[in-house]
């Protein structure tokens, strides 16, 4: 356990000094600042007022940015460290492979989640100071959603890093994964549905296997419990899970996907060449 925390601490310190982290923090802090600056808390759209409007916009933007950011920065730094000889040296020290791999994940998770959460927390603190009503339920669920989103894509990123032998390959693979998830979000699924070659249930199941779609639907479900904007797909989803059940699924499935991916990455990492 001591080795795990030492590795996690090491990864945190390395990340805090990396340029990607500074940009990452600036992006999420900047989003919240801009949302305040453009007076989103004053606006009223579809019944959303005050901070709930800001949080909905924030989670939508985060869903667009966080996955690709986490995937690319994770594979770049892990595969980059391996190529540059960091693994060769640090893994010559007496640290267990499990402690090393999971310690890296823990450290990176903290670094990836903290700026996203702190930006949202900052908005809540500001709202309290400015006497704007804080939707605590929404804040709590979005926090959990962000935590799970970070876990999911970090796990996938570590799996790609364990498989790919070079930074270029890892980066390319990470981008492809993100692109496939993005395309299956709407474009391909809509095409499949329109052509009518598969049952709607299959198309919806396929959509729900996509963590990006799961997050998107969960974020929608919070202000549209009947998922009216999703059209007929909503019937399949709500029949299958129910509103509360879907909220639980939206947290459990991506978390499981992240943990399974990370575990697969660990198995590959410990079986193969380390540097």
């Amino acid at each position: 356990m001591k080795q795990l925390w030492l590795t996690a601490k090491l990864d945190i310190v390395e990340s805090l000094r990396a340029r990607w982290f500074q940009i990452y923090t600036l992006v999420f802090g900047g989003i919240v600042a801009l949302l305040f600056l453009f007076g989103l808390t004053e606006s009223r759209v579809l019944g959303f007022i005050g901070l709930s409007r800001l949080l909905v916009t924030y989670i939508q933007l985060t869903m667009a940015i966080l996955p690709i950011f986490v995937l690319i920065t994770t594979v770049r730094s892990v595969a980059g460290d391996r190529e540059a000889g960091v693994f060769e040296y640090l893994l010559s020290l007496p640290v267990g492979l499990g402690a090393w791999f999971w310690g890296k994940i823990v450290g990176r998770y903290i670094v990836v989640f903290a700026p996203v959460f702190l930006a949202m927390l900052g908005s809540v603190i500001w709202a309290m100071i400015a006497n704007i009503e804080v939707p605590w339920d929404m804040f709590g669920y979005y926090t959990a959603l962000l935590a799970v989103m970070a876990m999911c894509f970090l796990g996938i990123g570590m799996l790609i890093s364990a498989i790919a032998r070079t930074t270029d390959m890892a980066q390319g693979a990470a981008f492809m994964v993100w692109l496939v998830l993005l395309l299956f979000l709407d474009l391909i699924l809509l095409g499949v549905m329109i052509q009518g070659k598969v049952a709607p249930e299959f198309a919806v199941t396929l959509a729900l296997a996509n963590p990006l779609q799961v997050f998107r639907t969960a974020a929608l479900a919070l202000f549209d419990p009947q998922l009216i904007v999703l059209g007929p797909s909503a019937y399949v989803i709500l029949d299958l899970f129910g509103t509360a059940g879907y909220k639980v699924f939206a947290l459990a499935y991506p978390a499981a996907l992240g943990v399974i991916s990370a575990t697969a990455g660990y198995v590959i990492f410990r079986r193969g060449d380390l540097p």
């Binding site: 090491l10 390395e14 000094r17 000889g85 060769e88 020290l93 007496p94 640290v95 193969g272």
Partner: protein, 284 residues
Amino acid sequence: MIQFKQVAKTFRKARVLDGISLDIGLGERVALIGSNGAGKTTLIRCLLGEYTFDGSVAINGLDPRSNRTAVLGKIGFVPQLPPPLKMPVGQLIDFSASLCGTDPKRIHDIARRLGLDVDAILTRQFVRLSGGMKQKLLIAIALGREAQVLVMDEPAANLDPEARKIFFDLLAERLQDTTMIISSHRLDEVSSLVNRVIEMDMGKVVLDDKVADDVTLTDVLNCRIVLKRFEPAFAKALDGWKISAADADQLIWTGEIAGPDRLRFLGILSRYTALVADLSLTEN
């Protein structure tokens, strides 16, 4: 102490190690030499449990891959190229010391002996240090613990003559209870440090030879050079060595050099053969 049995490693279709079998005993100082691509680094990585391979490697009977903590706790490693770590020097020392179960002060002390003012660079990023400073720090981390095996890849390449002398002294302090494997692509760089030479080529051992242990690591040689005429380039070449002009015309130069450095020193002098009228190297 260290046993390689039929170790073979293939990258895609390229066979980098081809059935290496070696026994290296306690106290042996092995020069692992060979041209680039001979398989030296791959063999070292197998020894450190970093690569998977066919055959077996054992250190004190333990497989370094499945007993990482126990085995690597006894190995000090100095890589040829320092890793580009962004962490501060202080944290690297604390991290290594904590994993190896040693006191960071030991590492500080050895770094100081090598001429590195650790206190002044504790908060500086490791990657921002000069090549020589990085090398000294990595050597200090490797030597600042109870290592039974020292694996060093061109360890003295970036050190100045003074630091090299201290480095040899540090190695000499551990001769009895430490096995050393020193990798280099040039024998003259390491010949004076070792008592066994293993040459590799195309993934095979092509020479395994015990060498006379005449030169001890702590030897010091008195040096006297008489020049036919003074040449500023000659003075510049001796910069860093403990040798200085003994007369006003700067024709007689005297001083001391570390015994293990004699070949390197003569290599430098060889460039000025035409200038040298007389040369003597005598053991203290």
